[in-house]
């Protein structure tokens, strides 16, 4: 059977397309593989050919007390910032969904601004205010910065869930004699569960890995990304690959879980 011209065109197009798509996927994942492979390579310099398997770079970073302190700082910052941002973001989403108040449009725009603007602007504007108020920089100012920047993530996710939420369930609950707080705790919140957990995981990961805001708001204490950033001035070592592999693998896990939960919440 002879192929028509458009069938030939389509076949060539398909081949080309799958080639380009494969290329794009390789482009996205080869660097990640490179990061991981060289964390196990028994060579101080990051060059080919590979020289054999070792865990010494992992041992090295696990015995580096500065790095461990930085990890501890990052865990502290990310957890507190996540809790604050979840509370503020959820309340803001409720306000946007259910309450009519003056300046609502302005409020929504302001809340969502940090998603659109580069982090450096959030960082510098807050730095300027802290300086004006005479507040010393510390991990706590970093937390305030992260919480402010991350509120937008929580607001968008929780707001989207609330928009699809059937208010009749709440009415039914109050008709059955539940007090407002009971309805909220036993009816409304459980329905928001996947949106809340999903955006909390996302906020935690983003805060843990954050640089632009942290850079301007941190005092003497370093978070893990800031510690890595400062050691990179002195050059690259496989130790960075080892800690990087741990961060990337854990972040990937948390994000996949979060995206899955947020998708479930979109289906509910």
């Amino acid at each position: 059977m002879k192929l028509s011209r458009s069938q030939i065109q389509e076949r060539i197009g398909d081949k080309l397309l799958s080639l380009m798509a494969t290329g794009a996927m390789l482009f996205l994942y080869i660097p990640v593989l490179v990061l991981i492979v060289f964390s196990f390579n028994d060579n101080r310099s990051l060059t080919l050919p590979l020289r054999g398997f070792t865990l010494k770079w992992y041992e090295k970073f696990l015995s580096n007390t500065d790095m461990l302190t930085a990890i501890g700082n990052s865990l502290y910052v990310a957890s507190v910032a996540t809790v604050i941002t979840i509370v503020i973001g959820t309340v803001a989403a409720f306000a946007l969904d259910r309450v009519v108040f003056p300046g609502k449009t302005v409020f929504r725009r302001l809340v969502l601004l940090p998603i659109a603007l580069p982090g450096i602007i959030t960082g510098i504007s807050m730095l300027n205010m802290f300086k004006l108020m005479g507040i010393n920089l510390s991990l706590e100012t970093v937390i305030l910065g992260h919480a402010t920047g991350l509120v937008a993530i929580v607001v968008t996710q929780v707001f989207a869930r609330l928009q699809r939420f059937n208010r009749r369930i709440e009415e039914a609950s109050s008709d059955l004699g539940a007090r407002p707080w009971q309805t909220f705790c036993y009816v409304t919140l459980p329905n928001l569960r996947s949106a809340l957990i999903g955006s909390a995981l996302l906020s935690f990961t983003v805060s843990f890995d954050e640089i632009p805001v942290t850079f301007f708001l941190t005092g003497r204490d370093n978070t893990l990304p800031m510690y890595i950033y400062s050691t990179l001035r002195r050059g690259i070592t496989p130790e960075i690959n080892a800690v990087g592999t741990v961060i990337v693998v854990l972040s990937l896990g948390l994000i996949v879980l979060s995206v899955y939960l947020l998708r479930e919440s979109a289906k509910e």
């Binding site: 794009a24 309340v91 450096i120 504007s125 807050m126 300027n128 205010m129 990304p225 972040s251 990937l252």
Partner: protein, 289 residues
Amino acid sequence: MKESTRRKITSFSLVSAPFVWILVFLFIPYIVMFTYSFYVKKYPTFIPAFEFVNYIAIVSDPQYYQILFRTARIAFMVAGSALLIAYPLAYFLVFKIRSDKLRAALYMAVIVPLWVSYLLRAYTWKTILGSEGILNSLLVWSGFLDAPTDIFLYNQFSMVVTLTYIFVPFMVMPIYMALEKIPGSMVEASKDLGVGPFRTFLRVTLPLSMPGVIAGATFTICLTFGDFVAAFLVGGPNGAMIATIIQSQFGATLNWPLGAALSIVMLVIVLSIISLSDRLERSGHIDLG
């Protein structure tokens, strides 16, 4: 207390917590930054004033406007190369993968790196492109090169590659969503009318996916404007971006008013790009009813 008053107080406190937060940590900082941009540098810090010296410096000193142009040029190159990589990928995922589960999994695999450490994703390119890096050692080892070359790192090329790598997911996401919305019947109709697949793509699919392309380009351009991490890692001595200059005003150079003014300029540029793309998206919007 009456039920209605109580409800009013409840809803007031409901709104006020995030409102106070946003006012104190978002709105006021912007105002302070704007105010600082009119202050004047005076050793060792700066003094309150209402002068335009910082803005005048930005438009008259070539050091600043040249870096603004350089940043814009890199931003457009990043958006262009991200588009070339992202569009075929998004198209392939939407139209060529039959299984819903596989498509969802692959889409997730593309999007997830977006949230994973920006620093490490830039760092790994530094280890790949360096003169003692992985690409060089591969080329020497395999006999393509006699000696390592330093043409890969610390130039415009390494900036564009690294930033493209970081922002590709931002490009795939909106294009994927735009392509997904195109009804199969439109493409079928074009085929039934005897239009070849290539022209169908040019006349039907591509125009309908333009809102996604515009959204993706907006993301990548705005984010490139804010980058100083990739510039620090792979940009080299002449690789300063506008964000690098801003960053140094708050560090070694210590000229906060100038840094604030440059931030305001960046803010205005980014917000104009966003509103321009909003308008473009709306004017190019074709209602499929």
